[in-house]
């Protein structure tokens, strides 16, 4: 029988939740990196025991951690203790330096700030780690201020894919309320050269040459809160998702609006349909049904909690527009938590499991594609990210 490993990043550490295929009884391991903010952790599809974690702190900056045993033990790659003073080389695993070299395109030094002035690009933290689909030692990092980095040596060293910031629209990118973050990285399983990313608040972008060159893919988005509602860039995209069997179809939860593209982002149309509110953060696709998608509607951008105090996941089985509320097992009164953009995931068991974590520290699981829910844990620190691995 298969097993499931749920990787949870929180404001005060990481937790690893494991269960068998029934997904009824859970073992909770953690906190790992107690006291540190864990924005994200994710396993390699090519080697499920290889995990990467983004460990951050306002005091001590950015650390990347790596596990080769499914999260039992961790190391900061490139940071091994030196056997004697003066030994070389010093580690570089935590080093994310923006590329401003002339060889990689136009050096880019500033973006738009909250007040409309230009502001220097400054590295703050890693929001998202996306391991390669085929190589355990290759992993992408989406960072704040928005940029994409890649490591090909197991996170020991990182190089920016500078064509993204340098393609021309960068000076018009601006931070959202949470900072100017590159938070979503989608690797196309049918086309090794294709990468889609999303930035708040700039929009979605695509590369068809493995990250060398990029273009905005925001046609069809409409954002009333920016000077030109249909601008090429400047949209606050909260998350994008695709099904691996149909990577040309991409779903998006924008600040407001749930969107769909059938041409890999070339054009978008709204599929918010009958949702009670189309504001939200996560969006996820069923493991076996490419037209079944999930969102968590949130009342508004200033309130950041569910409408009417009812925590409801909404599911569409038609690729959008027609939505049903999933409520069984979820609190239906006095609930005012939020569900952040990276805090929802699915497993790939025959009955697809769906998981999400809340700002109140609950991690909910459904073993029946969302029909019924139960908490795995109720009292973790605020949840920032949830990823799921389905293990043999």
């Amino acid at each position: 029988m298969s097993n499931v490993r749920v990787l949870v990043g929180t404001r005060k550490g990481a937790f690893v939740l494991t269960s068998d295929g029934k997904r009824k009884k859970w073992n909770v391991s953690g906190p790992h990196f107690a006291g540190w903010v864990i924005y994200h952790l994710k396993g390699s599809p090519a080697d499920p025991n290889r995990l990467y974690a983004s460990q951050t702190s306002d005091w001590f900056g950015q650390i990347i951690q790596r596990s080769d045993d499914g999260g039992k033990t961790w190391e900061a790659p490139g940071g091994e203790k030196m056997p004697a003073p003066g030994s070389m080389p010093a580690g570089a695993s935590n080093k994310f330096v923006f590329d401003t070299s002339a060889e990689t395109g136009k050096p880019l030094t500033s973006h738009q700030f909250y007040d409309g002035t230009q502001h220097p690009w400054e590295f703050k933290r890693v929001w998202h780690l996306e391991p390669s689909l085929t190589d355990p030692d290759t992993v992408y990092a989406g960072v704040e201020d928005a940029a994409l980095f890649r490591s090909t040596d197991g996170a020991r060293t990182w190089q920016e894919l500078a064509g993204l910031r340098g393609h021309g629209t960068g000076p018009r990118w601006q931070p959202g309320a949470g900072g100017m973050c590159l938070h979503t990285i989608l690797l196309d399983p049918s086309n090794p050269g294709r990468i889609l990313i999303a930035i708040s608040a700039a929009g979605a972008f695509r590369s068809d040459d493995a990250g060398k060159t990029w273009k905005p893919i925001n046609r069809g988005l409409r954002s009333e809160y920016i000077p030109d509602p249909t601008a090429e860039v400047g949209h606050c995209v909260h998350r994008i998702a695709m099904h691996r069997s149909r990577p040309g179809v991409v779903f998006m939860q924008k600040h407001w609006d749930v969107m769909r593209s059938d041409d890999a982002g070339e054009s978008w149309r709204e599929v918010s349909g009958n949702l009670p509110t189309d504001f939200g953060f996560p969006i996820e696709v069923h493991a076996h049904e490419p037209d079944t998608i999930y969102v968590v509607p949130i009342k508004s951008d200033s309130e950041h909690y569910p409408p009417d105090g009812k925590l409801r996941v909404y599911r569409s089985r038609t690729g959008g527009n027609e939505w049903e509320a999933l409520t069984k097992g979820l609190p239906q009164h006095d609930c005012y938590v939020n569900v952040l953009r990276d805090a929802m995931a699915v497993d790939s068991l025959d009955s697809c499991g769906v998981y999400f974590g809340t700002s109140g520290g609950q991690v909910y699981a459904s073993a029946d594609a969302g029909d019924t829910w139960a908490p795995i844990v109720r009292d973790l620190p605020g949840v920032l990210s949830v990823e799921v691995q389905t293990l043999p």
């Binding site: 900056g61 650390i63 030196m82």
Partner: protein, 98 residues
């Protein structure tokens, strides 16, 4: 022998308990002490000072002999008591709480 007292989270990261003791060629300065610390414990690179600018991270301060040395030039000699190991060099994180 220089003695360094790290914040608890950095001791955990470096897998050490108690003070860190390092040999540093005289004259001992903030820069030479931090260079030696990062060479011995590379996982601390970037956690105390910026990777590129080598500026002290904003929420950290350096103390020794009951003095705040945070704003001393990085190449200024540390007090003799620190250089001799009689007194430790403290790396302190800003206190968070109510």
């Amino acid at each position: 022998m220089i003695r360094i007292v790290l914040p608890a989270h950095l001791r955990t990261l470096a897998h050490v308990s108690g003070d860190v003791e390092l040999e540093v060629e005289p004259p001992a300065t903030q820069r030479s002490v931090l260079d030696a610390l990062e060479a011995r414990y590379p996982m601390l690179c970037g956690t105390i000072r910026d990777h590129v600018t080598l500026q002290r991270r904003p929420y950290l301060r350096f103390f020794a002999c009951e003095e705040d040395l945070s704003h001393e030039p990085p190449d200024a000699p540390l007090p003799d008591a620190v250089a001799s190991g009689a007194e430790p060099f403290f790396i302190i994180g800003a206190i968070a709480g109510g």
